[in-house]
């Protein structure tokens, strides 16, 4: 748990409300490739399974001979929208070696057998949770990155986007998106976690919670952008500027204060994620990225940065994003996320079979650098085994751990415990409760447990 609050205090919440997710453009179905040749169609039609495949092609690609049109028709017959990307279960041939498959397409789609989905909560102010238990490796697919919005998804025309940097600077400057893209930009992989991640599991735990429901407000991937240090150099930050205040361009104009050292370090104005421009829900066209800091401070749709001699004491730094402590005081600006981990498999709603080998796996992360070790226990913390870490372990990014295991059919309690390069060890629930005061609302970094019942059913370990 965070006990120092060294760099920051204060921080970001997340799931207080719900995310809006709703209909952000990244959820829109993908267009299908309509470029289908007549010869290709004939070949397909000649195949035994051709009929089924043909039925899945877009109407505009079908030939008149296969789709007679009535003389008076002026509009195309309505075709039911295909499953995401155009693949659907009904079109799966019994023998895929006996008929050609569908053509290439402009955008990729998942197998119709795979339907990962975020779990959205709330409307304008809400969140949607990444399905951690449906993912492997360390990178979160862009359309499954968690959301946390305070006034819905801001839709911004990149041609009109402007970033103003002013305050204690020599040259108050307005940067366009083109300006940002012209400047030197770099890429780094890091996680982004809502500081309220785990709130539901802490305050209203239920045995039926999945990894997604417990800790789905964290995602990780590769970000690209302009180092904030480059922009600070460009505007000439003045001596005496100790904080910068960042403001979002959404309808909530969410604002947070950050020590200027972070801006001169690894902070960036990011405009891309996982190789493509940011999704609207993640801050398109540009956002503040503060590796290792709580999600809320990573201002999306950032439009203004003011250099100042102190924090702005915005709403989300006063009534929210503080950590009440057991001694009656509260920690403010506790910006750095703590060492944490969660087993994503086996986990609810999985049911284990006894006496067969399986793999215990999950993710670990810390806002203080690299994960150096993850211990796994199958007996509720009495004994621990050192898990294998997936290389390369990247600083400030999700780190995958794994351990082979054969369940013997007896009751078991699975736990994971992360250790980072500063020596920070993920605390137990009891330790966490002892250090935090009543009303704790952020940074729930304690050890998560999974209980394996005698019948193999796995449940979230409430109060374990």
């Amino acid at each position: 748990m965070r006990e120092d609050g060294a760099t920051g205090r204060g921080k970001g919440d997340t799931a207080n409300g719900g995310a809006t997710n709703g209909t952000s453009s990244d959820d829109a179905p993908e267009p299908r490739n309509a470029r289908v040749t007549r010869r290709g169609l004939i070949a397909v039609a000649a195949a035994s399974a051709g009929g089924a495949i043909l039925a899945r092609l877009p109407a505009e690609a079908q030939t008149p001979t296969t789709r007679p049109s009535s003389p008076g028709a002026t509009t195309q017959a309505p075709t039911p929208p295909p499953a995401a990307g155009g693949f659907d279960l009904a079109s799966v041939p019994t023998d895929p070696t006996r008929a050609p498959g569908p053509p290439t397409s402009a955008l990729g789609a998942r197998s119709p057998f795979e339907t990962p989905a975020r779990a959205p909560v709330g409307v304008l102010s809400g969140s949607s949770y990444t399905p951690l238990h449906q993912l492997t490796g360390t990178v979160t697919p862009s359309d499954l990155v968690f959301e946390r919005h305070h006034a819905g998804v801001a839709l911004i025309d990149p041609a009109k986007y402007e970033l103003l940097i002013h305050g204690l600077v020599d040259r108050p400057t307005v940067f366009t998106l083109d300006d940002l893209r012209r400047l030197p930009h770099v890429s780094l992989s890091c996680f982004l976690e809502c500081s309220g991640n785990g709130r539901g599991a802490f305050k209203t735990p239920k045995r039926e919670m999945t990894p997604q429901a417990i800790d789905g407000l964290t995602s990780s991937g590769e970000w690209t952008g302009v180092p904030l240090a480059v922009l600070f150099h460009e505007v000439g930050v003045r001596r005496g500027a100790s904080w910068f205040r960042a403001e979002g361009g959404d309808a909530s104009r969410l604002s947070r204060s950050v020590p200027v050292e972070k801006g001169l370090g690894d902070a960036m104005i990011a405009f891309a994620f996982n190789g493509e421009p940011l999704r609207p829900a993640n801050g398109y066209p540009a956002r503040l990225l503060l590796p290792g800091y709580e999600g809320n401070a990573n201002i999306k749709w950032v439009r203004r940065i003011e250099l100042a001699d102190g924090p702005g004491m915005f709403r989300d730094e006063t009534s929210k994003y503080t950590d009440p402590l057991a001694n009656g005081t509260a920690r403010q600006f506790s910006l750095v996320m703590d060492a944490k981990s969660i087993i994503t498999a086996p986990a609810h709603p999985v049911r284990l079979a006894p006496n067969v080998w399986t793999q215990i796996t999950g993710i670990a992360w810390t806002g203080r650098g690299k994960i150096t070790r993850v211990d796994v226990s199958t007996d509720g913390g009495a004994n621990w085994l050192v898990a294998e870490l997936q290389e390369p372990v990247m600083s400030l990014a999700h780190t995958r751990f794994r351990l082979p295991w054969k369940w013997d059919g007896k009751p078991a309690v699975l736990m994971s415990r992360a250790v980072d390069e500063t020596g920070a060890v993920q605390p137990t629930l009891a330790e966490f409760r002892a250090k935090r005061g009543a009303g704790t609302d952020y940074h729930f970094s304690y050890i998560r447990a999974w209980v394996v019942e005698p019948d193999g059913q796995v449940f979230f370990g409430v109060d374990v």
Binding site: L164, I165, H166, R171, P172, T173, V174, F175, T176, D179, R182, L183, P184, V230, H233, E234, V235, R245, E247, S255, R303, R304, E306, G310, G312, M313, F314, T318, S319, K320
Partner: protein, 110 residues
Amino acid sequence: MSAARVGLLASLFVGALASCDRGPLADRATRTKRAFGAIRLPSNVHAAPAFPVRFDVGRAATAAEIAAWDVDVTPDGHGLPAGSGTPAQGAEVFAAIHVMVSRLVRIPSL
């Protein structure tokens, strides 16, 4: 970065040369030169340019632009528009607004 790297290489090189003059390592200079010669780049490949003092990207923000967006108020009152009236009048307005707002929306407790 490249400027710093070039500087570092130069200092290492000078340091290596200087240390060569010390007795038993007298032939180090020769070895150092051989080593550097072995990794010398082709004559048409050059080090990347160092960062300029400024990239001169972006345009100067006008005072009006800044004033239009910089509307936040800090706890010490900085950022407040010029006002008028007395503390008593202010208390009245404050109370009236909070009663009105609290009837419309749920205000999170501080």
